[in-house]
Amino acid sequence: MRLSFTKPSALRKKGVLCMNKRNIDYIGRCNPRKFYKRVDDKLTTKQLAIANDIAVPALIGVVREQHEIEEIPTMVLEEDGFVIKPSKGSGGKGILVITKVEEGRYYKPNGQEVGPSEVYRHVSNVLSGLFSLGGSPDVAIVEGLIQFDPVFDGYSYEGVPDIRLIVYKGFPVMGMLRLSTAASDGKANLHQGAVGVGVDIGTGKGLHAVQFDTPVELHPDTNKILTDIQVPHWDFLLHTASKAYEMSEMGYLGTDMVLDKVKGPLLLELNARPGLAIQIANNRGILPYLDHVDSLGNHNMTVDERVEYAKKHFAHSAQL
């Protein structure tokens, strides 16, 4: 059996960005170190977003000290459900989702009950820095549960589908919808088995889909045709992502957004080191788009102009 490797020249021809080039030529060059806190610390991101009129999931509370953990039950008394996440977490680690609160008892999306001691231990781990980069002490954010938009019903299994857009120097260049599966245990992280659907920047329509870096046609759990997806509020999503550039001052940025049934698109988090699987989901390399943006030089476009430019030039049908 031949090992399934391809030639580097074939990938270069398709403009596929690789990890080393991403780290050196894009992250290293476009993302100033001093602004990292704006994206790595979710609490800061949230506060910045609110200051910049970008909608985010409701902030119920922040737990900074061990003794404050006992306040959580009072905090969430009025809520239907809530999410506890580490402020400096990465890769979706350490996120506890409670979809149902009933008489002081908590339930996970799969119906499993979570005792108060388990919540206590989880938050304690978060504060100790177990999930944060480099193990530094952290704070736990308690957020309102997202009532996700039913437009994705049948496309996502037990989890919130999110929309990832790569924003380069303020231009949204590539998009992807991430759908959780049984394999990913309700999480929207591709390396854990979520499905990635490449989305046309021009229209918000599904183009191509992958799971575990392999192309797929149907959702593995619901058997719906993935490329039929049309993401609603597409223009709004593009605007929000483009605005995140001014807010974070990061040149190479991944924005993660969700659609709330009531509140519409919400900015979930920013990522200074977005992964490369988005290229596989779109079935094309990202480099031609990045080069196109670079060729514009120092532009003075507003958010609206950038979104229009991106829709016109980076759409699936457009010629670069």
């Binding site: 490797f5 990938l11 596929v16 080039k21 781990n125 870096d213 490369l276």
Partner: protein, 503 residues
């Protein structure tokens, strides 16, 4: 975007500096490029004997002086005698002087020397020798000598070819009448020397010793050196040969007598010798020690620090391995440099014991950790508890191994415990969050990288190089810096992105 030129110049400089330093080490200090290399050495004993007459005695004995042999150790034993070793400026005339106020009866003086061949058999003249005074032939020989010299002179072009032709003429099957006549009253060496001198060619008589293993009571042989174009060439007019045997040790090149005894009679010297093999590395260290060239070597350190450095200097190799596997190949490891630390432990435990021990400890640790996780402890105290439990596990395993008689099991104590505790904690979280499959994958990946790093670090020639050729670390630094600039595809990305290649 700033220019990358200074960076590449820096890398090139590091590379050149590292290679040059290593080659210098190897060539100049003769540090062997391969470990375990052996060199031949010769131990030569000279025994000087004479009969004392009861008067003050002074013995002057010339010492070996040959660029083809390096003197490693030399010493002289002579109870009751004062000893000094004199050196003339150009080192061509080293002599041992023994002296005593009164010598009576049979006297034995010893000189021992250990020599190693250097391979440089050419004898380069340090200064241009002055033209010798022409030899005055006795009247009976003058005509014959002039005629014979003239005949040979006509057939030669240079000093060297003259000496060669002369050597041939002296040893021809049918010698000319003139030469027969001259040889009847002169020894071949003297005649050769005189004929050269009569043409103004610098030449001198030297003595040498043929080195043969386990020979005793050997004598020096005499040769003639002829100067030509900055170099001395060796001739043996008694048998007509030219050049030197590789077993020949030039003992005395001063032209004076080898042994001078004042205040004694019947003096003689004879030699015995022994061939030996010794480690090339130890030999070069001894030579460096002799030359005070150790200044910039780790061998100056006390032995304990040396062995510590032997371990530390392996880390760059392991780090290089990790950088390569991550940047060029694209393997993932849990904890960037944890595999290097595990590999260091493997060096102490050997690979198989290390692997088995590591898996056993982590597996036991995971079981105990799962109990600890039910206790709702704070992270810090939980990890502290894991550290203490790991020490307990290691203790139990060591004891068990000892009882069963498995001495390999005892080396398990070399594992860094804090690292093990963190590994157990990380694996345990991984297990809870992403399932046992991911634990096996990431743990296995780390062990795989650790194994490769171990294999690189445990190769004897690698250990030899990193400690003896410090320049190699500059080369590693240059390679690591270069890899840090690599923006190409990783090997595993060629597989990952294969669907994009559109085949």
């Amino acid at each position: 975007m700033h220019s990358k030129k200074p960076f590449y110049i820096l890398v090139a400089l590091l590379f050149i500096l590292g290679i040059t330093a290593s080659v210098y080490r190897g060539v100049e200090h003769k540090v062997p490029f391969l470990p375990g290399k052996q060199v031949q050495s010769w131990a030569v004993d000279a025994k000087v004997q004479f009969q004392g007459t009861g008067d003050p005695a002074e013995v002057s004995f010339s010492l070996p002086n040959d660029p083809a042999f390096e003197i490693l150790v030399e010493n002289a034993t002579s109870p009751g005698y004062g000893l000094s070793i004199t050196d003339t400026n150009d080192q061509s005339d080293r002599r041992a002087i023994w002296s005593v106020r009164s010598a009576q009866g049979q006297q034995d003086l010893y000189y021992k020397v250990t020599l190693i061949p250097t391979g440089s058999t050419k004898v380069i003249a340090s200064t241009e020798p002055s033209e010798p005074k022409p030899y005055i032939w006795p009247a009976t020989e003058q005509a014959a000598a002039e005629q014979a010299t003239q005949e040979v002179w006509a057939k030669s072009a240079t000093n060297l070819s003259f000496a060669q032709q002369l050597n041939k003429a002296l040893n021809a099957q049918e010698r000319s009448q003139n030469i027969e006549l001259l040889l009847s009253s002169n020894s071949p060496n003297k005649l050769f020397l005189h004929m050269l001198q009569s043409k103004g060619i610098p030449a001198q008589e030297v003595s040498g010793l043929f080195l043969e293993d386990q020979r005793r009571r050997q004598q020096l042989s005499n040769f003639v050196e002829v100067y030509n174009d900055g170099e001395w060439h060796l001739f043996d007019p008694t048998n007509g040969t030219q050049g030197r045997d590789e077993n020949l040790l030039l003992w005395d090149r001063s032209g004076k007598s080898v042994l001078d005894v004042i205040g004694g009679v019947n003096s003689q010297v004879n030699f015995s010798m022994l061939q030996d093999t010794r480690s090339a590395l130890a030999t070069s260290l001894d030579v460096m020690n002799n030359q005070d060239a150790l200044d910039f070597s780790l061998y100056q350190l006390p032995l304990e620090e040396q062995s510590l450095f032997k371990g530390i200097l392996l880390i760059p190799i392991g780090v290089l391995m990790v950088v390569f596997l991550r940047v060029i190949v694209g393997l993932k490891t849990s904890g960037t440099f944890m595999p290097v630390l595990i590999a260091l432990a493997f060096i102490q435990t050997t690979l198989l014991t290390g692997l088995v021990g590591f898996i056993l400890i982590v597996a036991c640790g995971l079981m105990i950790r799962s109990y600890l996780s039910d206790l709702n402890l704070l992270l810090i105290s939980r990890i502290s508890a894991v550290i203490i439990v790991v020490i307990g596990i290691i203790g139990v395993f060591t004891l068990l191994a000892y009882k069963i008689g498995l001495s390999e099991g005892l080396t398990i104590t070399f594992f860094p415990m804090i690292i093990l505790a963190w590994t157990i904690e990380r694996m345990s979280i991984l297990w809870e969050e992403e399932g046992p499959k991911e634990v096996v994958l990431q743990g296995g990946g780390s062990l795989f990288v650790a194994t490769l790093a171990y294999l690189a670090m445990s190769a004897t020639w690698v250990q030899h190089w990193v400690f003896n050729f410090l320049g190699i670390h500059l080369v590693i630094l240059a390679v690591v810096l270069l890899m840090g600039q690599y923006t190409g595809y990783r090997l595993l990305e060629l597989r990952r992105f294969k669907p994009l290649a559109g085949e």
